[in-house]
């Protein structure tokens, strides 16, 4: 997290220009008058002040972090502070287990609202980790990942209605299997081709699926479905519903992270990276490229389904908004922010990007409408200043540092 050397250089100028261009929209509002057809420009100073009250402290905090990072680089270790910390916390299965156990334990001093927020963060961690398998490891772009999230969520909701005896834990295998199956069928035709067909096909699939969910009676149309009580996560003995959800969420996230960690460090994981690096060369080595790409995509879809089914069991309802393009982009942004191809990065990116807009909405309601704008700015800034992500994968580090 070092500060760019030429703080007044070209990049700063681009960002500054963007800020100047967007500022008027924050300070004013266009009010169309439908009766007369006139559009009036109204000044909304409180929005602007709210904006500044977020941006100025945020900039100061960013500067402080950058300064600390510099000091750390000079006197501490050669690796950036932030990256070192997140790698330590999530580098090995044992470290991950310890970190997640600590998180689960921390639940007992958290309020109900914090627990629910934390559970949603965990669901997004699962999603980001799952998407990383295709985008990060295998190099396949998926733009409609939320479709598999929705598949898992609806599968569990519909199954719980059809089978009143269905236990809550069944959400996980059920969500995984059905979403993985759907992923396999979607991937089958387009993974035989090279290039970004998968991105287009998944994007279209997500849009189509949302329309289908909105129009079928079995999926409850726009209203969605309420998950029957017996299938939801419930209080267990002295442990309340909020705590039970939180512990289950942390547990499942850990399972997902360990599963992906194992895969990444297996023969299959290495073959995925080989395919990402050079598909032709991988094929020449006799690596079954199509089958392994399909496997990556199927696993990835299955993990999204697990997250979706967990969501259904936790939130108690599912609606078509789980399959929106915005949801897909949010997950993609988490992977990119954290660092493509990096497991700790996905966990970190999910936490930051889920918490930031939510806290913004709670603390500064007037400007939370602009959270997509902030998203955009963050992604642009990341691409300019730190393309490998906050917590880039060890491979990128290895590449930058050379011999170890």
């Amino acid at each position: 997290m070092s500060l760019p050397k030429n703080i007044f250089g070209a990049r700063a100028a681009i960002l500054g220009g963007l800020a100047i261009l967007t500022a008027p929209f924050l300070w004013t509002r266009l009010d169309p008058d439908f009766a007369t057809g006139f559009v009036s420009l109204r000044l909304v100073p409180e929005n602007g002040i709210q904006f500044l009250s977020v941006v100025v402290p945020a900039a100061l905090v960013a500067l402080a972090i950058a300064g600390l990072g510099r000091l750390w680089a000079r006197y501490g270790s050669s690796k950036p502070l932030f990256e070192t910390a997140s790698h330590r916390l999530f580098e090995s299965p044992r470290a991950m287990a310890a970190t997640f156990a600590a998180l689960a334990a921390a639940g007992f001093v958290m309020s109900g609202k914090a627990l629910s927020l934390g559970t949603f963060v965990c669901i997004h961690m699962m999603l980001a980790i799952g998407l990383n398998v295709t985008i990060g490891f295998t190099g396949l772009l998926v733009l409609g990942y939320a479709a598999f999230y929705a598949t898992g969520a609806y599968t569990f909701a519909i199954a719980a209605h059809a089978l009143p005896v269905l236990p809550t834990w069944a959400a996980l295998p059920l969500g995984f299997t059905v979403a993985a199956g759907v992923g396999f069928l979607v991937g089958l035709p387009c993974l035989r081709l090279r290039g970004d067909y998968l991105a287009i096909v998944t994007l279209g699939f997500a849009e189509a699926l949302r329309e289908i969910l909105r129009n079928l009676s079995v999926t409850g149309g726009d209203m969605g479905l309420v998950v029957p009580m017996q299938a939801r996560i419930k209080a267990i003995g002295p442990v309340g519903q909020g705590h039970a959800s939180w512990i289950a969420a942390v547990g499942v996230t850990l399972l997902v992270a360990l599963f992906v960690h194992r895969l990444y460090h297996s023969r299959i994981g290495r073959a995925w990276i080989a395919i990402r690096e050079d598909e032709t060369a991988a094929a020449m080595m006799g690596i079954p490229v199509v089958r392994l790409k399909l496997l990556a995509f199927t696993v990835s879809a299955g993990l999204a389904g697990t997250a979706g089914a967990f969501f259904a069991g936790f939130a108690g309802f599912v609606d078509p908004s789980t399959a929106t393009f915005e949801q897909s982009v949010l997950i993609l942004a988490m992977v990119i922010l954290g660092g493509i191809g990096s497991l700790p990065g996905s966990i970190l990116g999910a936490a930051l990007l889920y918490l930031a807009p939510t806290l913004l909405r709670d603390w500064f309601p007037a400007i939370s409408d602009y959270r997509l704008f902030f998203f955009g700015c963050i992604l642009v800034a990341m691409m300019l200043f730190r393309p490998q992500g906050l917590c880039g994968s060890p491979r990128h580090k290895l590449e930058l540092e050379g011999a170890s």
Binding site: R267, R270, A271, I273, A274, R276, E277, D278, T280, A281, A282, A283, M284, M285, G286, I287, P288, R395, H396, L398, E399, G402, A403, S404
Partner: protein, 238 residues
């Protein structure tokens, strides 16, 4: 005459409407180093593509140990020991040296045999020193060695190489060719595709010259090295 290990019989193929190979035949026997010479666009890489199963045939056939393998996929050919070390090295830049080598064992040896890695470090000490380093950080010569070592991990019965001298300094090229002679001396036949005629002919037992998709000359390495035609076309001598 020893039996042919690999035979390409009047191969005809191409891309789109145009044929690139117009009936190419060649033979590699046990123990040989065979060189296939040719200028840019002569069809050298396509020939190797046909042999390794990456490019389909329009006519003709590939015969391996007496059996027609024209219809077989690359992986099946690899399983029988027909291994190609591809043009421009094509190592995996973001896999470590060791992982690159392991990638080469996918078909032959799913449960990695550690002894094979040890043998590689012995043969290529420089790769041993850099085993944990990413492939992309190696020099061109080291990358070429890695590409050859990776191909050897597939336990070739015939090692095919596509221009291993590409873009390398003359001293490094000599080193690479010495390695090829060693590999051959250890019992593996080599089919070498080259533009660097001088070096390639010096180590070859036999050689073919390919021009616009046809074999125009054939002979022992020293015969071709002495031929005026080859000297003019490939060695820049009048």
């Amino acid at each position: 005459m020893a039996d042919a290990l690999l035979r390409l019989e009047s191969a005809r193929t191409g891309y789109g409407p145009n044929d690139v190979l117009h009936g190419v035949s060649l033979t590699v026997r046990e123990g040989e180093i065979v060189t296939l010479l040719g200028g840019n666009g002569a069809g050298k890489t396509t020939t190797l593509g046909v042999l390794s199963g990456i490019v389909g045939l329009r006519q003709g056939k590939v015969v391996w140990e007496g059996r027609d393998i024209s219809g077989q996929a690359t992986a099946d050919r690899l399983r029988q020991g027909l291994v190609l070390c591809p043009e421009a090295r094509r190592i995996f830049a973001r896999l470590t040296v060791e992982e690159n080598l392991i990638a080469g064992t996918w078909v032959r040896d799913p449960k990695l045999n550690k002894a094979k890695l040890e043998k590689t470090w012995e043969r290529f000490p420089i790769l041993g020193q850099r085993r944990k380093q990413l492939g992309g950080t190696l020099s061109g010569g080291e990358q070429q060695m890695l590409a050859i070592a990776r191909a050897l991990m597939g336990e070739p019965k015939l090692l095919m190489l596509d221009e291993p001298s590409l873009g390398l300094a003359p001293l490094i090229v000599e080193q690479i060719f010495r390695i090829l002679v060693e590999i051959n001396a250890a019992g593996t036949p080599v089919l070498l595709v080259e533009q660097n005629a001088h070096q390639a002919l010096k180590i070859a037992h036999r050689a073919y010259v390919l021009a616009t998709g046809e074999i125009v000359r054939e002979g022992t390495g020293s015969e071709l090295l002495a031929s005026d035609e080859v000297r003019r076309a490939y060695l820049g001598e009048d």
